[in-house]
Amino acid sequence: MSTVSLRHSLAIQSRVIAALLLREVITRYGRHGLGVLWIMLEPMLFTLGVAALWYLANLHTLSDIPIIAFAITGYSSVLMWRNAANRCTKAIEPNLALMYHRNVKVFDILLARIVLEWVGATASLIVLTACFAFIGAMRWPQDIVPVIGGWLLLAWFSLGLGLIVGAISERSETFERIWHVMTYLMFPLSGAVYMVHWLPKAAQDAVLWLPMVHGVEMLRHGYFGEIVPTYENPGYFAIANLLLTLIGLALVRDMEGRVQPE
């Protein structure tokens, strides 16, 4: 077999992913109106809506937690992994014809979609934080290290989850349906709407099994400083992500052997 060096392979792969990314952006957002800006505006509007709702519901009177920062950190986290996974469901079938271009792989199609969600969610988080901190509606993050660490781990989580959901949804319609129910149920459990500290001990132990809870806790640790104790375990989150990614890669590999373009 003729072999290709790893560097050359990486060059091809990044080229393909960049091409898919641009194709996806133009397909999804078009060139009219605000166009590409919607990558960021879409998650921003979601987060703003939720922040406004929670603010108007006077949730900020229930705790010392700054409600705007609470909503931004919580909702941005959910959006990243949920959108990444949802964009990966049934992502292969409409793109099967791309398989005729040998360098385009199932993995690339999924990764391009996940990267797009990373970009959108990250831009939205940064812009919202900057705007609200600038007008004084919230404080700047107290410690940037857990913010960056937590966000990167959440991005990794969305990668593992996206690969798994993308590969399985292609094989099983049942899974696709169940997945929608699962994301719905996961939202309140994921740490977006509570601090672990608020929960009774038994509930804390239970929710800390969920990997993404650690990411949200880290993020809030960075945003709030010491206002409220946080319970993150970055090591656990990283190991969970590693496992999810390995499972995801194995499933995608298996999927690549099954694709049947027309």
Binding site: S2, R15, A19, L22, A97, M99, Y100, H101, R102, N103
Partner: protein, 217 residues
């Protein structure tokens, strides 16, 4: 050189496994013009998909020592909401070609006029296939895959495609798949017949055709 060794492709069906290709060997040297005859369902397109890399064989291996095209004039990978130009850019990016060098060529060749910058979904089927053929020619390969004969556009456009492929690129190899012998007789030096999952290669097209007639009747 491209080498296929013991390529087997098995598809699962409701009534058990269905073997389409059963240990196919094929060697394509630079400049080889190979025709492959076979009835509908003999596995010609499956072979093309495996050669292009769209599908993996169940067993066997492929060594691609030369670059190999996607099936010529294949427009299935076009994204309807993108313009002809966007689709060209996408293909160029995937293959690492600078699209700016290819815009004029493709626009001229495909004869799309202002529609080159309109979404592909607004194209007629003729426009689509002209664009697909032109984009196929924008990326250079050592070996082209031709699934059935290029029946693109009217007679004049068809002739233009023939010139582009068989004259300007006569130093390249190609694998042409067809169920009609005259196309293969016209362009190929060697031919194979796919029958019952096996590949029978002949250095002489007439012998291949005689064998094809014998096994298909």
């Amino acid at each position: 050189m491209i080498q296929l060794l013991g390529i087997t492709k098995v598809y699962p069906t409701r009534s058990g496994l269905h073997t389409v290709l059963d240990g196919v060997d094929l060697t394509i040297k630079p400049g080889d013009k190979i025709g492959i005859l076979g009835r509908n369902g003999a596995g010609k397109s499956t072979l093309i998909r495996i050669l292009s890399g769209a599908e993996r064989p169940t067993q066997g291996c492929i060594d691609r020592g030369m670059s190999i095209s996607w099936p010529l004039a294949f427009g299935g990978a076009f994204q309807g909401s993108l313009t002809g130009l966007d689709n060209l850019k996408f293909i160029c990016r995937v293959y690492g070609v600078d699209y700016r060098d290819k815009i004029d060529y493709v626009q001229d060749f495909a004869e799309l006029g202002k529609f080159f910058r309109e979404p592909v979904k607004s194209y007629s089927s003729g426009m689509r296939s002209r664009l697909a053929f032109a984009i196929s020619m924008a990326v250079e390969f050592d070996c082209f895959l031709i699934d059935e004969v290029i029946s693109v556009g009217d007679a004049r456009f068809h002739a233009k495609c023939q010139t582009e492929l068989f004259e300007k690129r006569k130093d390249r190899a190609f694998v042409m798949v067809s169920h009609e012998a005259h196309n293969i007789r016209e362009h190929c030096d060697r031919a194979g017949v796919l029958h019952a999952g096996k590949m029978h290669m002949f250095d002489d097209i007439d012998m291949a055709y005689a064998f094809y007639q014998e096994v298909t009747t």
